[in-house]
């Protein structure tokens, strides 16, 4: 389908001689990989063709990343064969994969923020004892030219914008002459502009005859970027749409087809969530007009952790019953903002007011008792203690307080009774309130946290990426819970990198960029576009 341009200088000179577009660069045959208690890949057979962008589409946990980690040597399959350039091979390490010309850009950056771009690229490049700095500079210039981007070789990587970091990652994956490039959720950290630029880069790589595997859970992305789309569900390959399928149909038909493949019989039930991206165009602001603000941020600044941006001079006010969204690319100060409001991070300037009274100096517990709650996105990292019971986790923000503690002594009965009630009310699926939280699924851990934060009379709740990594049903339930709370007059701040989610939920959307407020957009027609513009405007 893509032209095989014989005159184009191939990017790589070390691969097998036959490099016609349309040839299979990689064949995965019957790949099976199981983790304790779950089959992540169940007998998957797949071909990556030269000159094609092959999208792997599926929900979180469908097995996309596992499959590609098998190909990149990070995981070893339990069964199945891998054929690269017509030869059956065994890929037992990332090094072997690179030798075979398979480069991967991981979902989480594999760049070392403290090293320069050049050092990052030279890492693992081999070639004797001494670092070949001159050779590396030349190689970078060459690859940057191919990609059509400009990269400063001596910049410290951590200081680059995320889009640029990703370009470095792609250069790194191609460094040793890869002919197969795997991208794992490459757009999750990018602005809309960055996504467009990525599409351009991929177009160029296709022309150079590379086979590109593109992992995504976003339906429209697969439809737009892919020459071929394979759909994974619960570890199995449930459908493949070739170039002809993709071209022959209208956008709507395509979406409907993919939804049917992804969700099968459940399609009807979840279709509204899956299609949010298409249908939602914002709604009229509906709450809290003309009332006194519940929560106010006045010129708030706070320092970031080592190497992270802080927040600078942020002023916002939240009306009772209002849902405010915080949009922005990850790492632009969202976490710092949430922690500053929640009381976890000291302010360096400014003031936080709740019902008109300053609460800048109050700690987490005092704010908690006022009704100011924070549902963190790091569920096991800080939101719960995995080794402790569901019951204890439900009261961890009230340690020492009656009725759960009396004179410092734990009142087990009281804690367990409350826990049972909350588990029931918030529909937490757990074997019992004494089960350890780590044994629950991500969705149920999220429900435990929601139960803890929304119990005991909340007034304003900060939700950080409340639906990240959850399955479609739980996403629905969580969003419903946020709306329901707002109906009862509980204000909310929803931080999310998923713009569609914000458009769906929020009355207003504030945009964070490099720790500063780029602007606030009222909900309504065209809101997504205006937010996107704000994100780009400051980030550039």
């Amino acid at each position: 389908m893509t032209e095989s341009d014989g005159s184009t200088q191939p990017m790589t000179t070390t691969r097998a001689p036959t490099r016609e577009a349309g040839d299979a660069a990689v064949l995965l045959l019957g790949i099976t990989k199981a983790f304790p208690g779950v089959v992540a890949n169940d007998d998957i057979t797949l071909a990556l063709l030269r000159g094609e962008v092959h999208c792997l589409l599926g929900e979180n946990g469908a097995g996309k990343s596992t499959l590609m980690n098998v190909l990149s040597g990070m995981l070893r399959p339990d069964a199945g064969r891998i054929v690269v350039d017509g030869r059956e091979v065994e890929i037992d390490s990332p090094r072997r994969a690179l030798e075979l010309g398979i480069g991967m850009v991981y979902q989480h950056s594999t760049l070392i923020p403290t090293l320069t771009v050049l050092e990052n690229l030279m890492l693992g490049a081999g070639g004797g004892l001494r670092l070949d700095v001159r050779g590396a500079r030349a190689r970078l210039a060459e690859l940057a030219g191919t990609l059509g981007v400009e990269i400063d070789p001596d910049a410290v990587t951590g200081t680059l914008a995320l889009g640029q970091q990703q370009q470095v990652e792609i250069v790194k994956a191609l460094w040793r002459g890869s002919s197969v490039l795997i991208l794992d959720e490459p757009t999750s950290m990018l602005t809309p502009q960055g996504v467009a630029e990525l599409a351009k880069v991929l177009g160029g790589l296709k022309q150079h005859g590379l086979a590109v595997a593109f992992i995504t859970h976003k339906l429209h992305e697969a439809a737009e970027m892919g020459d071929r789309v394979s759909i994974l569900k619960q570890g199995r390959l449930v459908g493949e749409l070739g170039p002809d399928d993709l071209r022959g149909r209208s956008h709507e038909q395509l979406q409907a087809e993919i939804v049917r493949l992804m969700f099968g019989e459940e399609a009807k039930e979840v279709a509204d969530v899956a299609e949010l991206e298409e249908r939602v165009e914002g709604h009229e602001p509906r709450r809290g007009r003309g009332e006194a603000p519940l929560l106010e941020l006045i010129h708030v600044s706070a320092a970031g952790d080592r190497g992270q941006v802080g927040i600078h001079d942020i002023s916002l006010s939240l009306l009772p019953g209002e849902i405010m969204g915080i949009a922005g690319v990850d790492g632009n100060g969202q976490r710092e903002l949430a922690e500053a409001i929640g009381g976890q991070r000291p302010l360096t300037a400014g003031e936080v007011r709740f019902e008109g009274r300053t609460i800048s100096t109050l700690g987490v517990s005092r704010r908690e008792r006022l009704g100011l709650r924070y549902v963190t996105d790091d569920r096991l990292g800080e939101g719960t203690v995995g080794s402790m019971s569901v019951a204890l986790n439900l009261v961890l923000k009230r340690i020492g307080e009656p009725p759960f503690w009396r004179r410092g002594v734990t009142q087990r009965r009281s804690i367990e009774a409350t826990a049972r009630e909350l588990v029931e009310r918030f529909d937490v699926r757990t074997p019992g309130v004494d089960a350890r939280v780590a044994t629950l699924s991500g969705g149920n851990i999220q429900k435990v946290m929601l139960a803890r934060e929304l119990a005991f009379e909340p007034r304003a709740v900060i939700y950080s990426k409340p639906t990240y990594g959850l399955d479609v049903r739980t996403i629905k339930a969580v969003r419903a819970r946020i709306r329901e709370q707002a109906e009862q007059g509980v204000s909310a701040i929803v931080i999310s990198t998923d713009l569609e989610e914000l458009v769906d939920l929020c009355d207003r959307i504030a945009v964070l960029s490099r720790g500063r407020l780029a602007g606030v957009v009222e909900s309504g027609p065209g809101v997504a576009q205006r937010v996107g513009e704000l994100m780009v405007g400051q980030a550039a």
């Binding site: 924070y374 800080e382 203690v385 923000k397």
Partner: protein
């Protein structure tokens, strides 16, 4: 994906076996390292040309069957138990207070230094009570610097507490050779001696001083605090996940300072027990070096202040009996150090196998286990 895998791993572990099997696992994990260390120790003795069966036989004789053996061993348990209880507090919070010897020795030196004068000035009971308090205060004070460095700058407390031990030993010596020196006594500088009848009374019918009762009470108390109170829960949360502690509004620096101080205080009590119960004075350069040998036991008992009691009993027998055995075998009495090192090594290995085979609960604090197991979420 990793989400599912991690969860599955835990589910498998949880549903694995009944209570009985779990007890068996716990037995293997706790007793296994000791047995293995004793076997490896025997091999070392053989290599040194000593008869390990005789050596271990001498340990049993010296620590249990000899006339005063058992009583000596129980007496030795008092300081060891107090140290173990103190370590449970900090280890639960995932804080490595390894400055035990410094805290112990300074407290002991202070008690011995002011003991006789205080006892002359005040009624015996009151003086003893004040001396216990003094020891606790000294032990706690000696943790302030490492605790501050950790709380404020996150400086690794293993190193700083060890440094403070080296300093503490020398400071204790300075006191003993200086203000506390009793010039009427021998050539070797030492403090004045607290008369036997002014020391801690023995349990009637034995030569075991009541310090062992204090130590047992301390163990029970520590166990209660760590499992049934808000303070204990705070320390457990800190130990399991310091970031979560911040999220839940706990003041991590304050918890670090307080748990350090509590453990130092209890270790100070151990010093008081040893002086007020056994010696009555401190000589320059005296250092029983109880500290690091207690560490592995606390792990073997899975940071449980009650479960640690039998392990400490074993250690006390090894310690008391080991002196006799070493003397008869014409060896320095540092065989115990080798044994303890080996126990730690084998414990680490069983921990690895345990993780592999879901064998019982881990010895390590939850924070460490989490660091090993955590599949980080974005």
């Amino acid at each position: 994906m990793s989400d599912v895998a991690a969860t599955a791993e835990h589910t498998v572990a949880a549903g694995r076996a009944g209570r009985f099997a779990a007890l068996g696992d716990a037995g293997i994990r706790s007793v296994g390292p000791i047995v293995l260390a004793l076997v490896a120790g025997a091999a070392i003795l053989l290599a040194l040309g000593r008869n390990p069966i005789e050596f271990y036989g001498d340990i049993v004789e010296g620590g249990i069957t000899r006339t005063t053996g058992l009583q000596d061993s129980v007496t030795r348990m008092a300081p060891l138990l107090l140290i173990a209880a103190a370590l449970v507090v900090v280890f639960r919070a995932n804080i490595w207070n390894l400055g035990i010897d410094g805290q112990f020795l300074l407290a002991a030196a202070m008690v011995a230094g002011v003991g006789r004068d205080l006892d002359r000035a005040l009624p015996n009971g009151l003086a003893l009570g004040l001396l216990w308090l003094l020891a606790a205060a000294v032990g706690a004070v000696w943790t302030i610097v490492p605790a501050f460095l950790k709380a404020r700058y996150q400086v690794n407390e293993i190193i700083t507490t060890l440094m403070m031990t080296f300093i503490g030993i020398n400071v204790a010596n300075l006191f003993i050779k200086g203000p506390f020196r009793d010039f009427e006594s021998t050539n070797v500088p030492q403090t004045s001696v607290l008369p036997v009848e002014q020391r801690l009374p023995d349990i009637p019918g034995t030569s075991i001083h009541v310090g062992i009762v204090v130590a047992l009470v301390a163990c029970v108390l520590v166990h209660f605090v760590m499992t049934r109170t808000a303070f204990g829960l705070r320390l457990n949360v800190l130990g399991a996940n310091p970031r979560a502690a911040t999220h839940f509004g706990l003041s991590v620096p304050r918890l670090v300072m307080v748990s350090f101080a509590v453990s130092g205080a209890v270790i100070g009590l151990a010093g008081a027990a040893e002086i007020l119960g056994v010696w009555g004075y401190v000589r320059a350069d005296w250092n029983p070096a109880f500290g690091l040998i207690v560490v592995p036991l606390v792990f073997l008992a899975r940071l449980n202040a009650i479960a640690v009691i039998p392990f400490v009993a074993l250690l006390a027998v090894l310690s008391i009996g080991g002196d006799l055995a070493a003397r008869r075998a014409d060896l320095p009495n540092d065989f115990l150090l080798v044994l303890v090192g080996l126990i730690l090594l084998f414990m680490a290995v069983t921990e690895y196998l345990g993780r592999r085979r879901a064998l019982g609960a881990s010895y390590l604090t939850e924070g460490l286990v989490a660091a090993l197991r955590r599949r980080k979420r974005p």
